[in-house]
Structure formats: C-alpha cells, structure tokens
C-alpha cells in the first residue's frame, strides 16, 4: 500500500490508523482511541490521515465545551453540516419528551437523546457515507466524560447507525469505565531527541522562508534550543515550539544584523547567549503560577510595606496554622517556665513541618495568639517597657501597678483596626478561609496562606524570635 503522505516518524501509527479506518462503509471499526502523552503529533497525524483518505470528517475540540450537553449538541450540529446533505431541504423534527421541540437547544440532554436524534437524521436523509467524528482532547472536557465515553462506545450497539466512526484523541490513560471494552488503540510513543530536532528544523519561521536568514542558521538554532532545553521540555513538541518562538525574534534580528553565514550566526549567538539561554525563557513561556505571588526568598519586598500589626497578624496566623493546638498552653501561656525553651538544632525535621500544608484554625485562636505574641514581642510593649515606666517616676505604686496590669492585659484585639487588617490580609490572599454561604457562621475556619520562607523573613524584619514559639519534632 502506498502511503500518500507519510507523516515523519509516525509511519507505524499511520499504517495502524489506515488498517482500522478506510473510506469504505463496509469495513469500519466503530471506535479508535488515539493515545499519547503530551504533544506528540496525535491530532496532526489523525488530521492528515483523514485528509489523505478523503473521508467525511468532523473534528470537535472537546475541551472547548462547558457541559456535556453543549458538546453533544455541537457534535450533532457539525455532523449534520459536514455530511454534505443540503440542510435547507431537510428539516428535522425533534421530539422532546413526547412533544415536538421547536428549539434545538433542548436536545442532547443525555447521550441516548443525542443518539436518537443522530439516528433519526441518518435514517431520514439516508446518509450512508462513512463519516469520522474526531473527539479531540476528549479526556480534557470540563465535565467528567468517563460515563460519556462509555456511552459513546455503545453508539453502534444501540442504534442502526453504521457509518459513523469515532476517533477519540486522548492524552491520558483510559478511564476505568471503558476498561472492559477492547477498543483499537493507536499509541503514540514520545519522539526521540533527534526526531524532535528534525521536526523543529522543518517548521521554518517566516524570516527563513523569506530568505532573510539562512536555513542552516535556523537549523542550528533549533538544535541549540532542543539541546539546551531538552531536559526541561522532554519530547513535548508544542512546548519547545513555544520556547523557540519566544526567543527567535530577538535572535533572528541579531542574525540579520550580523550578516549571513556561519560567522553571523556565531556572532548573534555570542551576543545573545546570556539573554536567550537561561531559565527565564522557561518560566516566561508557560503559565506563571500564582505561587509566584511572592516569588522567591529575598524577593518578598512586596511584604515589606505591610503595616507593623499586619506582620504580627500574619505571623500569628502562621503559628496558628503550623503549631498544634495541644501545645498552645506550653507555647503561649503566661507561665514563665514554658517560655524559655532551648532551641533545637534539628533543621531537617523542622523543615519537614513547614513543607506541609497549613492547618485550619478558628479566628479566636488567631486573636489569642496575636495578643500573646504582641505583648511579648512588640517593640512598644516588651522592649521599651522599662523606659516607659521610668517616665512615671512620680506615680504612686498603685498607679504603677495599674499601668503594669494594663500592659500585661493589653491586647490589640480590641482595636477595630485589627479586624480591618485581617480582612485586608484575607483579600490579599495571605490568609485564607473556608467559604460558607452564611457569612456569620461560626464554622468558618481560617488558615495561613504564606510559606515558611516569607514568614521567616518577615520575622527577621521585625526581629521576632519565631523559634521561641515553635516546637520542633
């Protein structure tokens, strides 16, 4: 068999596809699952195969649909359009729950309704040509599609349809719902590094096709990108293409400037090496996670401008999240013996605790801890206490005692400001809480949303002895 347009490095997969699907309504395998992790040319091969054999086809990108109903409606709609049947002449009458439906939008609530309508269409128009329905990225629908998958596999069994083939393109394992069905699979193994380079070298950018830059320059550039980033991208073609397209404009401009040929290429490379081949090109190329809210150690300058009290609240929330309730008396009570504890030097095991996710706590606990740590550690209360008392030489003992008691029982919680600051921190995303419809529900629980790195640098900032309040296990 002459393969009209062999897709490079995918010859086996191509011939497997061609053994399952032919433009002949007699020999049609009802379903084919095309599977391969990451971007390895699945959709491309399927598309070019279907183009080659010239079969009627409908390609639906499943991840674009919010619900299953919309997806099925789209499938139905597109199949009708792509069938080549004159839709002006044929007007389908839909039955919906025993009544004739006037709108298409009520259709396809369940798969069997979809099937019924499709069957009706095919029967009434006598559409017998083989037709391929490609469900691209079927496993990435927003709705869970495992049940739908199973239902789709019953398409032929529960209808008189014989001419529809469904190709499912997935990039994950089969869901367990369809495991009992033995469906023809075409697996796409990852590319090798060499084939990746070749494929990349073939997809020439505009500058090369226009002749501004040598083909060899693009080839060496793409090889360079693959070589330097292969450990990161693996064989993910779209990822590496993305990175290439990010750095190519700069590079090509430099290349054009420094002239044709090898020397030009080398010159451009030398001048841009530091700019192009570094980690930034990776981190900028993909989605910046919100983890980047506060990026790295040292770069938390955004937190430096928090109010003094907010820092305390944040630290208190961290302590509330990462220390055990059982130890609260030991850690935060006024019993003096509990306060002076020796620092333990077990760094690694303490590190473990900080890597875990934060526990939820009640707001009351946060406030209690806040008042303790604020009284103990805040500059205005603990450090300058002596000096402050010295100001009142002439006060009577009674007044002094009263003042002292005032200090000891002082809590910032009474201030309205604390609540505002907590709310601000919440809206900044540094403190998190469970959501409930009832805003006043006592069940709402809170947790700290910033990591150890940030808290420790904050503590350093305000010279807060964080270790005094944590027990290392």
């Amino acid at each position: 068999m002459v393969k009209p347009n062999p897709v490079r490095f995918r010859e086996t997969e191509y011939s497997l596809l061609s053994s399952f699907i032919a433009n002949d309504s007699h020999i049609l395998v009802p379903h084919v699952i095309v599977q391969g992790y990451k971007s390895v040319g699945k959709t491309f091969v399927v598309k070019s195969f279907l183009d080659d054999i010239g079969i009627n086809k409908t390609i639906v990108n499943c991840d674009e649909f919010l619900t299953q109903k919309l997806l099925l409606q789209k499938c139905l709609h597109r199949i009708k359009q792509d069938s080549g049947i004159d839709l002006d002449k044929y007007q389908q009458r839909f039955m919906y729950k025993g009544l004739e439906a006037s709108r298409e939008s009520v259709l396809c609530e369940t798969f069997s309704q979809f099937l019924m309508t499709l069957e009706q269409f095919i029967d009434e128009t006598n559409y017998r040509e083989p037709h391929v329905l490609v469900l691209d990225r079927f496993d990435q629908c927003l709705d869970q599609t495992n049940e739908l998958f199973r239902a789709f596999l019953k398409l032929r069994e529960y209808s008189s349809i014989t001419n529809i083939i469904v190709i499912y393109i997935t990039s994950h394992e089969d869901p367990k719902e369809i495991a009992p069905f033995v469906i023809p699979h075409v697996h796409f193994p990852p590319y090798t590094q060499e084939s990746l380079v070749e494929i990349l070298a073939d997809s020439r950018p505009k500058e090369v096709t226009e002749g501004l830059i040598d083909v060899s320059a693009w080839q060496s550039f793409s090889k360079l990108v693959v070589d330097s980033l292969f450990h990161y991208t693996g064989t993910d073609l779209s990822l590496i293409k993305d990175i290439c397209s990010k750095s190519w404009p700069k590079f090509s401009a430099q290349c054009i400037e420094s002239g044709q040929g090898n020397t030009g290429f080398l010159k451009a490379l030398r001048s841009l090496r530091d700019e192009i081949f570094q980690d930034d090109i990776i981190t900028n190329s993909s989605v910046v996670t919100f983890g980047g809210l506060v990026d790295e150690k040292g770069s938390n300058s955004s937190l430096g401008d928090l109010p003094y009290h907010s820092k305390f609240i944040l630290i208190a929330s961290y302590l509330a999240s990462y220390t055990d309730v059982k130890l609260d008396i030991q850690l935060f009570s006024r019993v003096k013996t509990a306060k002076k504890r020796p620092r333990k030097k077990t760094n690694s095991s303490r590190a473990d605790a900080h890597f875990m996710s934060a526990a939820y706590f009640d707001l009351e606990r946060l406030k209690a801890i806040l008042s303790v740590i604020y009284r103990n550690e805040s500059l205005s209360l603990s450090r300058n206490n002596e000096e402050f008392l010295n100001l009142y030489h002439d006060l009577s003992e009674k007044d002094l005692a009263k003042k002292e008691a005032e200090f000891t029982y002082f809590t910032p919680n009474k201030s309205v400001d604390v609540n505002t600051q907590i709310a601000t921190l919440l809206s900044l995303g540094m403190i998190d809480r469970t959501y409930s419809l009832d805003a006043l529900s006592s069940r709402i629980r809170w947790k700290c949303n910033v990591s150890w790195d940030i808290i420790s640098s904050l503590a350093e900032d305000i010279r807060f002895p964080l270790h005094n309040y944590m027990i290392d296990n």
Partner: protein
C-alpha cells in the same frame, strides 16, 4: 527507552521450553528423582506436551494416546536432541538416526535435508549453520506421501527454525490432522509459499480478500455462530425467546458472561432469526446501563421506544397522546399502557387475538440494582408474572454475582434461569474460533476469480499458526493474557490491510506491530517524561519511600530533589576517579580524575512546571481520602491544567522500585533511585 516497545519475549517461557531447559529445571529434576519410586506419567506427558507443543494433541486422539503410552518417547527426544547438538559441534558431519517402534505403529523415517538457516531465528533452541537432521514422523498406511518429501525437501529452503524439534513435530501435527490429499496440497503450498508463489492473483481478488477479512475482523459478530463457543447459549436463548414470541409465555433470563465475548452478538442473532421468521409480531426494547444511567432515564427510554414502535406499526399518526408525558415520574404510565396494550392496542396488529409481545433487553443490569427499591427491575419482573402480558426480560451482565445484588423482592420474582457464555477453555478452542475470522468461508470461494486463492489463503493462515511466527505468538499472547477475541482481531487488521497484488498473503511479522505499539500505564508515562520530570518523580518516590505516609507535596519533593542532587554531586568526583566504566583506559581515568561532572540544581521556580505536568499526566494525583465527596471532586480535577499549591498533598502513582526497573540502563538515573 526502546525496551518498552519490545514485548516479543513476553511469552518466551512458553515457547522456548526445550528438553534441555526442562531437564535443568529444578522442579522437573525433583520430580525425576521421585520417578524412581512412582513413575509419574503425567509429568512426563506434560513435558512431552511442552516439547511437541500442542499439535500432537490436536491430531487424532489415538496417536496421542499412543504417544503418551510410549514408554521411551522421552528418552527418544533426548537422543534426538543430543544428536542434533552433536551434529552442531561436529560441523558438517551427517548424522543418521533411524528408529522404528513397532509397538506403537509409529514409523520414524529419517530424511536428510540440507537446511540453510537464513537468519537468526526468534526462538533459537538449536542454532546451527550446518546440516541438521530432519525427522519426519508419520503414522500408518495412507501417509506415503511423506516419501516424496525427500525430493521436495532437498531443495526446500526452510524459512525459519524448522530445525528445532518443536517444528519437526509441528509438521507431524499437520500431516496427521489433514487428509492425505489435502496434505499434498499442503506440502505443495508450503513449497509454493516459501519459494516465490507462482499464483497470479488479480487486483480484484486482493481487494475482495482484503474487504472480506477486514469486515470479519471489524465487526463484532462471529461469522459462523453455530460452530463457535456461543452455540449453547445462543440455542438456549433462542428457545426462550421463541417461547415468548410464539407461545405467548412470559419469561425472564439472565445472560452472564465476560465482556467482549459476544453476549450482544448472541442476542442480536436470536432476535434477528426471530424477526426473520416473522410469525408473530414483537417489540424489542433495548436498554443499557451505560446509556440510561438512572431508572428515570430508562423509563423514559422504554416509553420512547414503545412510542416509536407503535407509531411505526399503527401508521396512523393521529396517536399523539401515547406513553410519553412531559413528566417522567410515572412508571405506572408505561405499565398501564403495557397492560392496556392487551386490551386496546392489540387491534393494531395482524393477530388481533393476541397481545403484542415485548422483549426487554437490559444490558448491564447491575446498574439498575443501585437504588434500594430497584423499581425498574421489580416492575418488569412483576410483569412477567402477569399471564396477560407476554413479555420476556433478558438481563445481560458481566457480573456473576448479579443475583446477590437483587433486592429480595426482586430476587423472589426472578425465574432463576441463567445462561452463561464462557471463554475458550483450551488453546485449540481459542484458535479454532479465532482462525474463523482470519479465513475465508468456503461459501465465499466462488466469488473469487482464482478459486485456489482463498484456499491458499486459508492454508497459509493455518500454516503460519503452526510455525513460530508472529501470528502464533499473537494467538498465544491473547490466549494466555486475556482470551479476548477482539484484541486478536484488532491486531490482525494491520497485516490483512497491508496485502497487495505482489504480496497477496499476510506477512506474519506484521501481527506483532499492533501489540508492540500498545504501551500503556506507568511505562508510557515514564517514557514520555522529560529529564526534570523524571527527577521530580524520583525525588517524590524517594520521599514516599522513606516516610510512612504515601503523600508528598511540591515542597517535600523539591527539598528531596535538592538533597539528592547535592549527594550525587559530592559523590561524583570520587566516582569519576575510580572509573564507573570498567572499560575505561588508565589514561582516560587519569584525564577524568581532574574533572568533576556535576548536575545543575534547577531552581524551584522552574521545577514547579514539571511538577504540574506530572499532575496533568496522571503520575501524580490528588490524595485519596476517606470522604467520597472529596474524592469525587478531586477526580474532576484529573488531567486538567490546574494550579497546584506548593503544599498540596498528592499521591505518586509509581514506587521507587518500579522506577528503577523502568529506568534500568540509564546509570545516572538508576543511581538516583538508590537510597
């Protein structure tokens, strides 16, 4: 990672068992030791069976019995083996071996052949470039054809490993199974095929052949149902259904059997034959647990199908107020209609005196046992108790414990009639079923321009199976792994679709391509990982290996990754001095002594991406909890691009040992997997 793609050796243990291997096997040795006391014949027989493959068994039972009772058959094989290997060592020396055993009527004729081994064989039991004796066995009179074999085989180019004793006996198997005249054909064709085939096959024939076989392979049905494993169940079902349709009795039956075996085929076949008979009118209502997920949907579907059927048959479209209502809450509606059909609707049918028969086919019945009351099943079963309504309920399921799932009132109404379908119990059964879809039915023969072509095709298929070819290993693989027919069919599609005019028979090697292509599970995931992703997998696996709970988050994994690489880098200097490669020359190691090869530690910012991709790929997944609600929610996230917090606890799909096995060959990675 080529090793993932090669599953050729998966069943090598079955195929490769030579006498030598068996004798060195400790288990057999132990048994041989006992043989002095009790002569354990069955063991011996087992050994023989392995030795001779199954062809002897497939041949006439008389001979098998004789061979089994043959006391010295075992030593005989020994001798042959020894001699063959002797011949190997002696080079071109001819070894004559002739043994006749009068007691068993088995004539051992010896034929000398020059065997040219063309290439390295797949199953090298005896590998030789020299002359090898070919022992031909035949039995009794009427088998004189074999005499000619001497001449034939003198220039017979044995394609592959025909020199092994196994294949010699293969030939016996065929020779004994076939009738004499067919044997001539067989010898002819084998020669024909091995030389360049002289048969000119037209393009039409090839297309016809391709379409015929591909159609058989693609459709779920079985070409000749009466001749297959499904004969008994299909007979039973037909009788039950015909009693409902013809005699107006009510029945219920459960059809139980594994997936993909042809339960639906049986039902469709039975319904088809009833339709064809057309004695009585009946309505079929098909439900499926995976299409109608709830009872409400099922009820609605019943209503719809009844509606459609009645509309078709009554032809007067005035009937708009049938079963369906805008609300689905009343099953009673349908029940009333069904019972009403006894009184009113029967007039619409040809046989006015009889109510219509309704056959319910419910696939995946177990789906409707989920609700506590099992309303649908209860009502249907209750209906069958009503003599006025002749209905038949056929429940189809793969669950053998389906009866236990019925609620007690449902169970008490169940007739206890169960039909089961079975998997092939022996390899021969499996092959005789499987071969049917690869062969051309004799009724099709005259459609071909060259009538000998389909015959040659069928012989070729049979022949390929009896040699150690891709087809044989495919049959073995699918039989011993799943016994699934569909798998076999799917794998056979490629070789059939590849036939051309010039090469009009299947290429045996193509049978392996499909299964080689099928890499799945963790292997495929690991294979598609980039280096950094692999590092994160290893780091996470190392962490979970050490800690008592099996959950890990990004912080922990990254911490482990940093530590891992640090440790590796400090070791790296010493390793290069000592020379990790034993073949390295002294000078090399001197040169390398000064060079420290370290791995860069990538920053956490970058590592978050591989971590996220691992989640998307499914290697990492949300930790399973005891709360179903949370698990269901987490399942929704699966395979999606979502933002993973650093502290999000995840579970890893692979253990450290697995990774080590999967990565064996990559010394750097392997070292990382060792703690």
């Amino acid at each position: 990672m080529s090793k993932f793609q090669d599953f050729e050796d998966e069943f090598s243990a079955i195929k490769q068992c030579s006498v030598k291997d068996l004798d060195s096997d400790p288990f057999i040795k132990q048994l041989n030791g006992q043989k002095g006391l009790t002569r354990d014949r069955s063991i011996q027989r087992d050994k023989e069976r392995l030795n001779y493959t199954f062809n002897i068994r497939q041949s006439d039972p008389g001979l098998k019995h004789k061979l089994d009772s043959l006391p010295n058959s075992e030593p005989e094989t020994h001798k042959r083996q020894r001699r063959t290997s002797h011949a190997n060592s002696e080079g071109s020396e001819n070894v004559h071996l002739s043994e006749t055993n009068d007691t068993t009527d088995v004539k051992l004729e010896e034929i000398e052949t020059t065997v040219t081994l063309e290439e390295h064989t797949d199953f090298p039991i005896v590998s030789s470039q020299d002359r090898i004796d070919l022992n031909r066995n035949t039995q009794g009179p009427g088998h004189s054809v074999v005499k000619n074999v001497t001449e034939l085989s003198s220039n017979l180019r044995v394609p592959k490993n025909l020199d092994t004793p196994e294949n010699v006996t293969d030939e016996i198997g065929i020779a004994l199974v076939d009738k004499p005249q067919e044997k001539i054909l067989l010898v002819d064709t084998s020669e024909n095929l091995l030389e360049e085939p002289s048969l000119a096959v037209s393009a039409n024939d090839v297309t016809l052949m391709k379409n015929t076989i591909l159609l058989q392979l693609a459709s779920p049905s079985i070409p000749n149902i009466d001749d297959s494993l499904l004969l008994t169940p299909s007979k039973e079902l037909r009788s039950v259904l015909s009693r409902t349709v013809e005699d107006g009795e009510s029945h219920m039956v459960l059809l139980i059997g594994p997936h993909g075996l042809g339960k639906t085929v049986v039902i469709n076949d039975a319904l088809g034959s009833l339709k064809a008979a057309e004695n009585e009118k009946f309505i079929t209502i098909k439900l499926s647990g995976s299409l109608q997920l709830t009872e409400q949907h099922a009820v609605r579907e019943i209503a719809r199908q009844l509606d459609a059927e009645l509309k078709n048959s009554t032809e007067n479209s005035e009937a708009t107020t049938f079963e369906q209502r805008a609300i689905s809450d009343t099953f009673a509606n349908i029940l009333r209609t069904l019972e009403a059909s006894v009184d009113s609707k029967k007039l619409s049918y040809g046989k006015a005196d009889l109510p219509i028969r309704v056959i319910f086919v419910i696939d995946e019945v177990e789906k409707y046992t989920d609700t506590p009351k099992q309303m649908l099943l209860y009502n249907l079963f209750e209906l069958t108790q009503n003599p006025k309504v002749p209905i038949c309920v056929v429940g189809v399921t793969a669950k053998i414990n389906i009866r236990d799932l019925f609620e007690k009132r449902v169970r008490s109404r169940f007739s206890q009639r169960i039909i089961t379908t079975h998997l092939a119990s022996t390899l021969e059964d499996y092959w005789s079923n499987a071969s049917k879809v690869l062969k051309v039915d004799s009724s099709m023969f005259e459609k071909f321009e060259a009538p000998q072509y389909p015959r040659l095709w069928n012989d070729r298929i049979e022949q390929l199976y009896h040699r150690s070819t891709g087809l044989k290993s495919l049959v073995f693989k699918s039989y011993f792994a799943t016994k699934s027919m569909s798998q076999f069919k799917q794998a056979s599609m490629l070789p059939v679709s590849e036939i051309t005019e010039a090469n009009y028979t299947v290429n045996a090697d193509d049978f392996g391509i499909y299964s080689r292509n099928a890499i799945d599970g963790v292997e495929a995931k690991i294979a598609s990982c980039s280096l950094l992703e692999l590092m994160m997998v290893i780091a996470a696996a190392r962490y979970t290996h050490r800690s008592e709970n099996n959950q890990v988050n990004f912080n922990l994994a990254y911490n482990e990754y940093v530590q891992m690489l640090k440790a590796f880098n400090t070791e790296a200097t010493t390793l290069s001095v000592s020379g990790s490669n034993p073949n390295a020359s002294h000078i090399d190691s001197l040169v390398l002594a000064g060079i420290k090869v370290t791995r860069a530690v990538t920053s956490a910012r970058i590592m978050r991406d591989p971590w996220g991709r691992l989640f998307t790929m499914g290697l990492l997944f949300d930790a399973l909890t005891t709360s179903n609600e949370v698990n269901a929610h987490n399942n929704l996230n699966m395979y999606k691009e979502i933002v993973l917090e650093d502290a999000r606890m995840l579970q890893l799909d692979v253990s450290l040992e697995e990774i080590r096995n999967l990565l064996s060959g990559d010394s750097f990675m392997e070292r990382l997997t060792k703690i």
